[in-house]
Symmetry: C2
Subunit: 298 residues, 2 copies
DNA sequence: GTCAATTACGTTCTCCGTAAGGATG
DNA sequence: CATCCTTACGGAGAACGTAATTGAC
């Protein structure tokens, strides 16, 4: 059972034209070759498909039967390849991304909106999740790729560094540090801290950075930056958030001061499953984000 | 778009096994050839279908898409060929025959019953029609072949002579010819004739045979032999019918006397459209009828 | 080092074109 | 004899196998 698409085409052409010479032309082969093709097809399927003499060509009873299948086969092949071409050209498709809440609020939506204008047929999905969950989704193939602040998965994933973002102190405008233009990590000594959840990369990174500094724990662990801002505004303590989360913390009476410290930077990695290729659509989105990552370093 | 069934098989084998070596074995080719086949397929469809290194093989996003089509294509090919094989072996099929009422009453049903026992999957159809309609049905392809008493279509059809049947006088038992053991056509001179319909071959043949003999016309033209018998029994005249119609004319008080005359024989031809092949099932039936035609000459 | 996929290269065979053959009207 | 399908035959290219190579664990 090794029928080539070519032979199917030959069958359909002859069925329609009922002329070897014309069907041969349509298939871009000589009449002789075409005759041989029909003979080969008949040998392969094990039945005579056309009754023919030098004047008349017509389907046999078996040819009539085979005709249905031939049309279906031709359609399946055409459709399958057309679908692949559409996906290859990003005419249709789907891109699914996991990203931390900070980037999901402004930069990513902007990029995705631009992408959607360029590729209207592509379906976009954005999961704003904490770091641990992001890693999990990428590893499981639940998303095409993810954005994440941890570099600890270098070997498990294919990744690129998109940008480095700074960290900011968030405090009440009347806090004793609120008037500073900038500060160092050690300046936070003695402060009470409102934390993000432990499963997020912010918590995990701060834990590392502040372990040698005398910080008091407010006891709060929140998952939304809005909540965090509310707590700080109501004097439960200060907090430290990455640059792109600041706008999520905007409340009257709050100040944000940049922390200028070698270590107080957050890498933003983009990562996907190692050794697995992206769909054309996902690849296009990946490339777009890499290209526009310079926006992030303003 | 010239994808061979072989390449589809290769795709499916690799999708299932996720091992080049094993899939190659299943396709009866060397690992090298198999690797080339996958590469060729990917070139033909214009997309990478498998992510692979020396350790792992997995479908790409595009491979997942193509998989659906590949399965459908493989099924279509398999089913199409299986159907043809079934028909070639007469496991399924349909045979449609047109025949004159005389043969449709006993001989053909017997042959068809035997055929049905030999090929239970084949659907049989019998059209008992007058000669003109029989010719028409064969010419139009409404039936696979027909049985007919006229030889006048030698060039228009492919035909074989199945048998020659004699002609019989049908008359009342008290008719003056009823006691004869046999008679000649000219013995009918002076009789009143009940005719079959003009579109039947019996009428057409008798018209020729009796044109030089002084026969009176009863005015009746009937299509059923039973009706004809009824008319004869009620003294509307005599009639002449072919051998195989006699049993359809059996009524109390009627006699049937053989007409022994060189010309008073009816050929029974089997004919089909010229240059057109029969379906395997129809061919099998055709052959059976040719083989068993000797029954008719008893 | 071992195992699995790929590449290199020579061979085989499929497939096509030119040209001759045969049937039909 | 003109047209159209088929057969014959030779060449180009595709497809396969053996063997060497590359890459991952």
């Amino acid at each position: 059972m090794n029928i080539s698409g070519r032979l199917i085409d030959a069958f359909l052409a002859l069925e329609e034209t009922r002329r070897f010479a014309i069907a041969a032309e349509r298939c871009h082969v000589s009449p002789s070759a075409f005759s041989q093709m029909i003979t080969r097809l008949e040998e392969k399927v094990g039945a005579r498909l056309f009754d023919r003499d030098t004047r008349n060509v017509s389907l046999t009873a078996e040819g009539e039967i085979f005709s249905k299948g031939a049309h279906r086969i031709a359609n399946e092949i055409t459709n399958s390849i057309a679908e692949l071409r559409d996906r290859a050209s990003c005419a249709v498709g789907r891109v699914s991304i996991a990203a931390p809440p900070s980037l999901s609020a402004s930069w990513l939506p902007k990029q995705m909106a631009e992408f959607k204008r360029e590729h209207p047929g592509i379906n976009l999905q954005l999961h704003d999740v904490v770091s641990d969950r992001c890693i999990e989704m990428v590893a499981n193939g639940e998303v095409d790729f993810g954005l994440n602040a941890r570099s600890s998965h270098a070997k498990e994933f294919d990744s690129v560094l998109l940008a480095q973002e700074g960290m900011f102190l968030i405090c009440r405008a009347n806090h004793y540090l609120a008037k500073r233009k900038s500060l160092k990590l050690k300046d936070l000594s003695g402060c009470v801290m409102v934390n993000t959840v432990r499963s997020g990369s912010v918590w995990q990174q701060l834990q590392e950075l502040l372990k040698s500094i005398d910080i008091k724990d407010s006891g709060f662990e929140v998952s939304q930056f809005g909540t965090l801002a509310g707590l700080v505004a109501n004097d439960f303590g200060i907090s430290v958030v990455p640059q792109f989360a600041i706008q999520l913390c905007k409340l009257p009476g709050l100040a944000a001061i940049p922390i200028e410290d070698q270590k107080a930077v957050r890498p933003i990695y983009m990562l996907k499953r190692k050794g697995r290729s992206l769909s054309p659509a996902a690849q296009a989105m990946w490339s777009k984000l890499v290209k526009n990552a310079s926006d992030l370093t303003i």
